[in-house]
Amino acid sequence: MGESTVYANIAVYVVEGLLVFFIVYKIISARRGRQLFIRRIPGLSALDEAVGRATEMGRPMLFTPGLSGLSIIGLQAMAIMSHIVKRAAKYGTRVIVPTADPLLYTVAEEVAKDAYNAEGVPEQFNPEDIRYLSDNQFAWASGVVGTLHREKVATAFYFGYYAAESLILTENGQMVGAIQIAGTPTTTQIPFFLASCDYTIIGDEYYAASAYLSREPTLLGSLVGQDYGKLTMIALIIVGAIAVTLGALYPDWTVVHWMQSHFLKYFQRGVG
């Protein structure tokens, strides 16, 4: 058990330092007012479409942040919710929000109220539509299922953290014929959303979606910084791949030895 394995080494300083620099730099420059570009996420145009459909049909919409608690995932779900509520307020369509976390519930209430205020229709805000059902996964899920059926929901949005109950929700959503749009960073649930929803925002797109919709400089900046971070990782991998290929073909070259002792060794894991 060498010390270098338990604590940071030079490679950590360089690589992580670079990533931290990109992220923090981009956040700061975005907050100073610099315009940053984020590409359009395909599923997002569907959001407005779906709000329109619910309006046409005169039926309410459902938005759930899933099991998210008061975490980054949950708060970004709130950003997306705020966008949807604003759109809905414009057309006078109801949005029902069942939550599973007592802490996030209080936040959701505030966010919805703010959204109606922002659209100038504070009287449309109905506290009954923001609901705390249960913090038990399946008790919550069966509550949402009940809402889907009773309220004859026209459009359902699922954004946030989801676990095994995802399928129960979307399956019932299909039964009532709702348009369904989902977005989650939980990889294991994406297949079910993909198969049973009309649009699915997958993996990291979720964060991009909330940044795109909220136009929040911190989120946008962070996202752009992360892109540079990922580029750094790709560059590392490509250089490494060339080095190991050379090493495999010409083990005697000095360059190969130098690469091994100054670069590759930091990324290798001793076994057991």
Partner: protein, 253 residues
């Protein structure tokens, strides 16, 4: 009474478990009161057990005992700090809970540097695969190429600050989305297995544990009467269901 329960506990447990199982499965036919009732039993028990376990296994031996039995009085401060969580229920002083949440969020966030190093450095390293070399067959090389193509295409799909107007980046990202589908398909295929296993677990219980109990009980007359009544009730309930229902509030799942 207590002695009787204690004596017959294993059998009672199995019967209760079977009853719970049927109560929950009844929702597959339609949402009903029986199910609702057992759901509340579930929530009550889960919460109550949580309180018990937290005290008996952690707060008791790690906080109360050192403080009261071993005289380490300063553990009392832990209760003060812990009480800060509960300020979230006060409208006026809710911010105090933010302090302690901040502390815990900070503690969790502080691990990011180590986590990145321990989790992803080895992964970056194992992504540096030689494309060719001594002892590598054509298939091996091809496999590595497949790896790189998929890795880079999928990663490019998750770049957001570059416009996908350029044909090359657009195609790569589109390919990335396709490759991601393989990963999702793999998760889906494995998930079916997982979910089925859970159901099989319940069946195993009904067949292996409950089955023998039914056999024992079947020998007694009262049991036969109870079963007979239950069957009649079930049939009546089903017939009534097929009639046009009254204003129903229950969820039609």
């Amino acid at each position: 009474m207590v002695t009787w329960i204690a004596k017959n506990a294993p059998a009672i447990t199995i019967w209760c478990a079977a009853l719970s199982t049927f109560a929950i499965y009844s929702v597959l036919y339609a949402e009903n009161r029986f199910y609702r009732f057992f759901e509340h039993i579930f929530i009550g028990l889960a919460t109550g057990y949580g309180v018990y376990a937290t005290w008996a296994q952690i707060l008791g031996p790690k906080w109360w005992d050192p403080m009261v039995k071993q005289g380490q009085w300063y553990w009392a401060f832990a209760a003060v700090v812990g009480s800060m969580f509960y300020f979230m229920y006060s409208r006026k002083h809710a911010w105090i809970s933010r302090v302690i949440f901040g502390l815990f969020m900070g503690l969790a966030a502080g691990g990011m540097f180590r986590e990145f190093y321990e989790l992803y450095f080895p992964q970056i390293g194992s992504s540096m695969k030689p494309i060719a070399g001594h002892g590598m067959s054509v298939w091996d090389s091809l496999n590595v190429v497949v790896f790189y193509v998929i890795l880079l295409a999928c990663m490019s799909y998750f770049f957001f600050s570059f416009d996908h107007k350029n044909a090359a980046t657009k195609k790569t990202a589109a390919a990335g989305r396709w490759f991601l589908m393989i990963g999702f398909g793999a998760i889906f295929g494995a998930t079916v297995m997982g979910r089925m296993t859970l159901f099989i677990g319940r069946f195993n219980f009904l067949i292996n544990d409950w089955g023998p109990q039914v056999k024992i009980a079947w020998a007694t007359l009262p049991f036969k009467i109870v079963i007979g009544l239950a069957v009649v009730w079930l049939i009546v309930a089903l017939i009534r269901r097929t009639k046009p229902p009254k204003a129903k509030i229950a969820i039609e799942e």
